[in-house]
């Protein structure tokens, strides 16, 4: 059985680390339903930029066909052109995709998300995933009882 911390998606405090009381307060308010806009909603603004690490580790590829265009500037790729490839395999000019990822973290074509350096947003994503998982668990339980 997974430990409590693991199940909640939390990490134990390291030596010398202080708890984040503001974050605790926010969790308390949400857990007791005192703050309506909980994690069923959407992130209210454009998600933050992709993390530096994720951007640096984007694959450099050489374009092998001439029937595709960069989805950002719409210019046609020629065979042999250099391009950056996202984990979702969509290819862009380096300048185009780097400008975009400096603004927000997702693929402009399919919205596949890269990690960000924004703690708040990462917490939001984790919480959203947990909420979905919980919903699924309840459904599974419900189905196993009433089928």
């Amino acid at each position: 059985m997974a430990g409590y911390f693991e199940e909640m998606g939390w990490a134990e405090l390291e030596d010398g680390q202080q708890p984040n009381h503001l974050l605790d307060m926010a969790r308390f308010l949400i857990d007791f339903g005192l703050y309506e806009d909980n994690f069923t909603g959407e992130w209210p603004r454009l998600p933050p930029p992709a993390s530096k690490e994720a951007v640096q580790s984007l694959a450099d590829v050489t374009v092998e066909t001439d029937d595709k265009s960069c989805p950002i500037c719409l210019k046609k790729f020629n065979i042999g052109d250099k391009a950056k490839e996202m984990p979702c395999h969509h290819q862009f000019h380096a300048k185009c995709i780097l400008t975009w990822l400096d603004k927000t973290n997702s693929c402009p074509f399919c919205r596949h998300e890269l990690p960000t350096d924004n703690e708040g947003y990462e917490a939001f994503k984790k919480e959203k995933k947990r909420a979905e998982q919980r919903k699924e668990d309840i459904e599974t339980l419900h189905n196993s009882m009433f089928s």
Binding site: I72, C73, F109
Partner: protein, 199 residues
């Protein structure tokens, strides 16, 4: 204007001109100035909606940072819709705000706005008055939207009773757009609309 924005608009313009929507007459795109920063869009009202048969003009302003930021689009033709301001024509549509993606184009945006006319989002309104009517009296909303389509967008269905009421207010010296907004807002009750206009 930054080079990439103008170049991309040029490429998009060619793409739109070749598209089947332009061929079929459901959307149109025109240049307003030579610097590729201002365009005019046109969409026709989707079938089986109160907007059917109407032609709606849209003002499109392309920012220097396009396509990294969305184009600014508003309705120039007046329209009665929960997600469009009946006064300014401002549109509440997620892809024009926080859900913008650089791979979206003027063509896909115009198609999304057209789709918004078929499927309103009354829970995320731009115009609270219209949204309230949409939620509480969908039949009256449909009639009002049809009347606006007839009055401003060249739609085919005139609603005699509404036209009469607008005329009554015109005869009192009220300006036409104002009269129509007041009557639409007060569920076509002449007395309440008059009271509002003259209070």
């Amino acid at each position: 204007m930054a080079n990439i924005a103008a170049k991309r608009i040029k490429r998009e313009f060619k793409e739109v001109m070749k598209s089947e929507e332009v061929a079929g007459g459901t959307i149109k795109l025109e240049l307003i100035n030579d610097s590729w920063t201002e365009l005019q869009g046109e969409i026709v009202g989707p079938p089986d909606t109160p907007y059917e048969g109407g032609t709606f003009l849209l003002e499109i302003k392309v920012p220097e940072t396009y396509p990294f930021n969305p184009p600014k689009i508003r309705f120039m033709t007046k329209i009665w819709h929960p997600n469009v301001s009946s006064v300014t024509g401002a549109i509440c549509l997620d892809i024009l705000k926080d859900q913008w993606a650089a791979a979206l184009t003027l063509r896909t945006v115009l198609l999304s706005i057209q789709a918004l006319l078929s499927a309103a989002e009354p829970n995320d309104p731009q115009d609270a008055v219209v949204a309230k009517q949409y939620r509480e009296d969908i039949e009256l909303f449909n009639l009002t939207a049809r009347h606006w389509t007839n009055a401003y967008a060249g739609g085919p269905t005139a609603i005699w009773e509404f036209n009469q009421k607008v005329q009554v207010l015109l005869d009192m010296g009220v300006e036409e757009d104002q009269a129509r907004v007041a009557l639409s807002t007060f569920d076509w009750e002449l007395e309440r609309a008059t009271e509002h206009l003259f209070s």
